[in-house]
C-alpha cells in the first residue's frame, strides 16, 4: 500500500518538474525572479536619452520603440545614473564590506580616495615645475591604474593526474584577474597593518605603491608569475 503510493508521488514529481532537481518532496524554490521573460533591463546611461532623434541609427530607433511597449525591470539599489558611480569602485566596496555594513565600507573607500588626493596634491605643490606635469592627482585614475598593475597575467590551476595534484599555469578570465587584484589588496591591508592605523590610510599607501609598480601586492603578483614560470613543464596537463 505504501510502496505504490511513494512511487506514485515520485512519478508525479517527475512529471511536474520541468528542470531536474527543481521539485523534491519537502523542498520549495526560494530563489526566483518576480519578472517574466518579457521584462527588459533598465538603461542607466543618461547620455543615451539625450541623443537627438536624427543621430539614432535604425536599430536604436526600433529598440526605443520596443522599450515604450515592453515592461522594464526596476533598477537595482546599488546602481545609479550619476556621473560619480563607478562599477569597479562598487565592486571593491562590496568586497571590503563585512557583515552587510555597506555604509562603513563606502566611507572607507571615500576616505581612501580623499587621502590619495591629499597626498598627491601635497606632492604636486612641493615638486618643481618640470615634475608637476607627471604627477597624477585624480584618485580614480590612480585607483584603476593600481588595480591594473596588480592583476596577474597567468594563474595556477590545480589539476589531478595520477594521484598527484599539480599546479598548472593557465590563462585567467578578466573577472578572475580583477577579483584576485582586489582580494590581494584588501588582504594585504587587513593583515599587515598596525592596529592603530586607519584602514583608509593603509589602503591609500598600498594603492600609491601599486600605482608606482612597487609594494607587497605587486610582489605577490610577481610571486604568482614566478611559480607559473617554475611549473611551465606541466603546462601540457591542461585540456582546455
Amino acid at each position: 500500500m505504501v510502496a505504490p503510493m511513494a512511487g506514485r508521488l515520485v512519478a508525479l514529481g517527475r512529471r511536474l518538474a520541468a528542470p531536474a532537481r527543481a521539485w523534491l518532496p519537502g523542498l520549495t524554490q526560494v530563489r526566483w525572479s518576480r519578472y517574466g521573460p518579457s521584462y527588459l533591463e533598465p538603461e542607466l546611461n543618461k547620455e543615451v536619452y539625450r541623443k537627438p532623434l536624427e543621430e539614432l541609427s535604425e536599430e536604436e530607433k526600433t529598440q526605443q520603440e520596443l522599450k515604450a511597449l515592453q515592461p522594464i525591470k526596476a533598477a537595482a539599489s546599488n546602481v545609479t545614473s550619476s556621473v560619480f558611480s563607478d562599477p569597479t569602485i562598487s565592486k571593491f566596496t562590496n568586497m571590503m564590506m563585512k557583515g552587510g555594513n555597506k555604509v562603513l565600507a563606502r566611507s572607507i573607500v571615500t576616505q581612501t580616495l580623499e587621502a590619495i588626493k591629499r597626498k598627491q596634491i601635497e606632492k604636486y605643490h612641493q615638486a618643481s615645475e618640470e615634475e608637476r606635469e607627471s604627477i597624477e592627482c585624480n584618485p580614480y585614475i590612480i585607483f584603476h591604474q593600481a588595480l591594473k598593475n596588480c592583476q596577474p597575467i597567468i594563474g595556477l590551476c590545480n589539476i589531478q593526474k595520477g594521484g598527484k595534484t599539480y599546479q598548472v599555469p593557465s590563462p585567467l578570465t578578466d573577472n578572475r584577474k580583477r577579483f584576485l587584484a582586489m582580494k590581494w589588496l584588501i588582504t594585504e591591508c587587513r593583515e599587515h597593518k598596525h592596529h592603530r592605523t586607519f584602514m583608509h590610510e593603509k589602503l591609500s599607501q598600498e594603492l600609491l605603491q601599486a600605482f608606482n609598480n612597487e609594494g607587497p601586492v605587486i610582489k605577490r603578483k610577481h610571486d604568482m608569475h614566478k611559480m607559473a614560470e617554475a611549473n611551465r613543464a606541466y603546462a601540457h596537463y591542461r585540456w582546455w
Binding site: R8, P171, A235, W239, W240
Partner: protein, 121 residues
C-alpha cells in the same frame, strides 16, 4: 523488479543455426536508464602554450617586469581571446549536435525531458 523471467521460446529465437548453451542471462532488467555515462569524448590539448613560453622567456630576461614584455603579453591575450571564442563555438556546435555524435551532457538533458517511463501509474 526481481530478476526477469523470460519465456523459454525467447532463447530459441536464434533458430536456423546450431543451438548451443544459452548465453549469460542479464542480472538486471533490460530497461534503458534515463542517463548516459559521462565519459570524456575526446581529449583536448593545452592552448596557447607557445605564446605562454615566449612570455615566460621574456619574463626571465627582464626580471618579470610587465612594461618590458608588453608585446608578448598582448599576443598572449589575443591568443587566449581567440581560443575562447573557438571553444564557445565548439561547445555550441556540440550541444546542437552538428559534430557527429551528441555529447553525453546533451543526451542527458534530452533524456531528462523525455525519459523512459517504466511505471504504470
Amino acid at each position: 523488479l526481481a530478476a526477469p523471467v523470460y519465456p523459454a521460446w525467447l532463447g530459441r529465437l536464434a533458430a536456423g543455426r546450431q543451438r548451443r548453451a544459452p548465453a549469460v542471462r542479464p542480472a538486471r532488467p533490460l530497461v534503458l536508464a534515463n542517463q548516459v555515462a559521462n565519459r570524456r569524448l575526446r581529449l583536448g590539448e593545452a592552448t596557447c602554450t607557445t605564446e605562454m613560453s615566449l612570455l615566460m622567456a621574456c619574463w626571465k630576461q627582464n626580471e618579470f617586469s610587465d612594461a618590458a614584455c608588453a608585446k608578448e603579453i598582448q599576443t598572449f591575450y589575443d591568443c587566449v581571446a581567440k581560443t575562447d571564442v573557438e571553444h564557445k563555438e565548439r561547445l555550441k556546435q556540440e550541444s546542437l549536435g552538428h559534430m557527429g555524435n551528441l555529447s553525453p551532457k546533451t543526451v542527458n538533458k534530452l533524456l531528462r525531458r523525455f525519459p523512459n517511463i517504466t511505471d504504470d501509474f
